[in-house]
Point group: C2
Chain length 179, copies 2
């Protein structure tokens, strides 16, 4: 199952940090690519690419002016769409169904206002707890459920920086050969 | 097990949205209280209190000038401390141990730079995936692991707004008696 993420309605300055966290969360929890829509933010994309290349793997980031174009293309290629919204069905009930479906999954993460067309286009509208919190935490927990915890075993190939889990302090392998 | 969260080194403006998301994530995933340190941000605290009171429950938010004071008090009261850091031990290996320990848990969420004293004071330094992503996603996934998924069944008492999970559209019960 290939997982991509689509971030709606990015706004320059106001959303820079949240959208950066959405991108890095998508990558860390196993998505291979994120599409950004809304205002084009070249600096943010450069920063995410830079972090991703230092920590390894093949994460992609692409700007798309038309989020509905991304959704339609995904569906016409045979993929299915999960839209994360506080109002959707409970994540822990839906995630196993999505996983067993086996289709490639586009996870849509909202901005300030999400049009009804996104709710309609989604195969699943999914809520993480039905409480207000964050698109970052919703994405992380949904990806965690979808991966069934396998994100903890992901290997990111050819990293420059490789963090070695350690109880106290910091332990980072530096692979200069991957620079 | 009572869970509280301590957010280090909040900076006005720059961190407003991320810290707000940290607060709401803490609440949604079962923490009863968050302590904020760094720059005092009355507006942020008011906004979080307002959201929390509309969606129910008894979530508390308190500013503390001394994060180390909060940590020391927590430990002297018999609680234990989890510090979330990219460099720590893997979350899925540590969460069951923390849960079985049964102590009240203070989860410390870093800011831009975390002093060595926090690493030392922590009973567990814990990493969620060892990849860079977000304090918001780290907190959510660690709380999810700690709660063993029970956050999906939490009841927030006396809400004004109660979201009813629904496959398409929005379904919100409005309890005017709780205003």
């Amino acid at each position: 199952m290939n997982v991509n993420v689509l971030r709606l309605d990015h706004r320059l300055k106001r959303d820079t940090r949240i959208t950066t966290h959405v991108c890095l969360t998508a990558r860390a929890f196993g998505a291979s690519k994120i599409y950004l829509s809304g205002e084009r933010d070249a600096k943010l994309m450069e920063n995410v690419r830079d972090t991703a290349s230092r920590f390894g793997g093949n994460f992609e980031i692409e700007y798309s002016e038309s989020y509905m174009g991304v959704i339609k293309k995904w569906k016409s290629d045979g993929g299915k769409v999960v839209h994360l919204t506080m109002y959707g069905s409970q994540a822990h009930e839906i995630a196993p169904e999505v996983r067993e479906d086996g289709s490639d999954i586009l996870i849509v993460v909202g901005g300030s206002k999400v049009p009804g067309s996104v709710y309609k286009a989604a195969d699943w509208n999914v809520s993480v707890t039905t409480q207000p919190h964050s698109e970052v935490s919703s994405l992380a927990v949904f990806q965690h459920l979808l991966m069934n915890g396998k994100e903890f075993d992901l290997k990111f190939e050819n990293p420059v920086l490789e963090v070695i889990p350690t109880a106290h302090g910091k332990n980072v392998n530096i692979h200069n050969e991957n620079r």
